[in-house]
Point group: C2
Amino acid sequence: MSIAETAHRTGVSVHTLRYYERAGLVVTPVDRTCGGQRRYHELDLKWIVVCTKLRATGMPIRSIRRYAELVAAGPGNEQERLALMEAHRVDVRARLAEIQENLALIDHKIDVYRGRVVAGDADRLWAPSRLTDPG
Amino acid sequence: MSIAETAHRTGVSVHTLRYYERAGLVVTPVDRTCGGQRRYHELDLKWIVVCTKLRATGMPIRSIRRYAELVAAGPGNEQERLALMEAHRVDVRARLAEIQENLALIDHKIDVYRGRVVAGDADRLWAPSRLTDPG
DNA sequence: CTAGAATTTGGAGCGTGCTCGAAGTCAAGG
DNA sequence: CCTTGACTTCGAGCACGCTCCAAATTCTAG
């Protein structure tokens, strides 16, 4: 299929598809027409989707490239692929925990402001407790 | 306290502290010595920590600036602060969900590679199922 | 008072991940 | 065949969030 359809079906732009290819994120060279235009197959599409999911978890491009290189190299380096993924999982979990932790602050702020808005709507009287709770 | 100590106690670099100030993330102007050097107080420190937590959840600098402006403007805009935080919470939760969802892929890959590594260590025999499971 | 460490400013530089522009080539319908 | 739109490459540009530099000034310990 054309690059446009691939872009449509994977949800990434054609620019990004070409960028990913330049960046070395492909496992096998993308098929081309005799005129030089890219023709993607289902397998290419699946791989691109994997890339987008790894990106969505914050894996940097260069790590995905490394992973693509390992996959391209064929069987025999599962140990390294495993290490790569495990390291990334540690990162992701840490980030997840950090976000969840700090989400509590946001929840708290929302509670506070909800209270203030209700009080304000009721009688425009409140004490801005900036000294104990900045913001 | 000095900028260096503030940096130490908040975990952000002195460069970043100055950058945040330039970017309009402060609620009130930072106190200065007669010579012009910054002197941070506990309240400044608390606000900086809030900023770092918002940053940690992915809130962009310009949103934090907007929030700081609202806080600086004093009581009366709780509605807007609330809207800002609620919008951000929606973002954060969506991102959280996306990460968690895609973490499953990583877990799956790890399971697969663990299996392959064990099999490989045992007898170096496996079928690289690239056609069904790229990567 | 003085030396040396810390801080100041404005602006430049950088890493990441796209995003786009220009100029030319290719593909498919009529 | 011809037109029109999609595609090609290469390199530049951009948004973001820092990070750093240089030269001047200030602070602090001895």
